[in-house]
Amino acid sequence: MRLTAEQDLMMSGAHGSVLQRQMRLLARLGTVFGATEMVPIHSVQVSGVSYKSLGDPGLEFLEDLASQGARVRVATTLNPAGMDLHDWREMGVPADFAEKQLRIMAAFRALGISASPTCAPYLTGNVPRAGEHVAWAESSAVSYANSVLGARTNREGGPSALAAALCGCTPKHGLHLSENRQPHVVVEVAAKVTDNADFGALGYLVGKKVKNRVPYFRGLEVPRNDDLKALGAAMAASGAVALFHVEGVTPEAGDVDVEDLPAIVVPQEELDATYQALSSTEEAQLIVVGCPHASLSEIAVIAEKVRGRRLAAPLWICTARATKDEAVQLGLDEVIQAAGGRIVADTCMVVSPLERMGVDATAVTSGKAASYLPGFCSQRVLFRRLDDLLRGGGMPQ
């Protein structure tokens, strides 16, 4: 591994034992994956933030790092926490959980990391440009950064992303290299994919088929960014897709060679069947949207749909704190609350202790949430389009 003078100082311990261990970690991981040098990075997204996933060992690790005076060297944002950091009591989060979660946030702040947690940092200011190298964890954000923005990141784990933030670099291999960004398979979409939930369903079934390969989509009619967010998140959850291309849409799609690639066709029946495959109940207690975190325009659309109505079941919209603040200023929060909904910031259904909050059946529009809720939160799931759920489909009458 060739190191720069500064990286060599970190490796030799000249900047202290904390950085030495973190640099040693990056160098070792780089060697394992065949990297011969590091690449400087512009930003980091750290996963492993909820107390539910970190537990006490993670909490203590972060507190040790913070107490040793470690500081990040690049702009670093955080994945969702296990609760709304302001309104956790109203959410019904247990107090013992909240106490540990707040200690985790304090440790991250001490490390110099933004304490506004979101899984969609590209909606709230952490926006790498095309060709820029970053080190992101959070599989859905990795997919969005690579595919929609054209930035370059591998699928980092929580600890390796944090090491990259502290050292300011990451091993140069995998998706940092142009040759690894070529597609492996063409996906011909022969189904009507229009609703945001359709993109989640499509992502779920394509992720299962292509696993960790790079798919190239044909037949998608100018999807919105929110649709690409849903598509990528579901593919990263059911498979390990870190990069996808969409013909005529994503920034690198025009530069790749798709001749002679194997093709998969997705017919309408298969997309329709995914709605059943992702559902394990006909009746849910709670509707949750915002996986990945909702954009302001998604919140505005929901507010218009529920304006002046009373929903059959409570609705949570998960989003970043900054987006919630804008929604409050625009009066959207008020409209949603009047209908029986709530804009929940800093967290999401998957990393919250939903199973300890008296909820065991959840309705979602996200392919990613539908994949994870049964295992992470012991939920039965109803996967439907938003309009169906807001009309009261699948809710106790």
Binding site: R28, V32, G58, P159
Partner: protein, 131 residues
């Protein structure tokens, strides 16, 4: 046997061999060092002080922090030996300063063997073949 150095250091201890991958997050109790994954071949056994031998890690990347927690709580293995390259275990061993070697054919090791690990050189040797 020669493998590759993942985390440097030397240690000697009795092998605890798992034929199945170990998922540290949710699979091993960081307070006690006991394997708690239901149905795991090592369920109920403690990894404390052992040369822990297994094919590879599995599960959440947060598992690295569990390995760190084992060390902090004084119940970590004295060394880790794995068959395959895998980032969760490599990350945990490096962060916790636990000697670790990978790329070893673990089929030749049995629980109870006394094993010397030179993780700086990336070698291991069985000094007392159990049974």
């Amino acid at each position: 046997m020669t493998g590759r150095s993942v985390s440097p250091g030397r240690a000697s201890g009795l092998a605890l061999v798992s034929p199945a991958p170990i998922g540290f997050y949710g699979g091993v109790d960081a307070r006690t060092g006991v394997v708690i994954e239901v149905g795991h071949p090592l369920e109920g056994r403690s990894v404390a002080g052992t040369v822990l031998v297994f094919p590879c890690g599995k599960g959440s990347t947060v598992g690295s922090y569990v390995i760190y927690g084992l060390k902090k709580n004084g119940v970590a293995p004295c060394a880790i030996v794995t068959a395959e390259v895998e980032t969760i275990v490599a990350t945990g061993a490096i962060l916790a300063d636990i000697p670790c070697v990978d790329g070893i054919d673990i089929g030749g090791l049995r629980t109870g063997d006394r094993v010397e690990v030179d993780a700086t050189a990336g070698t291991i040797s069985v000094t007392d073949d159990h049974g």
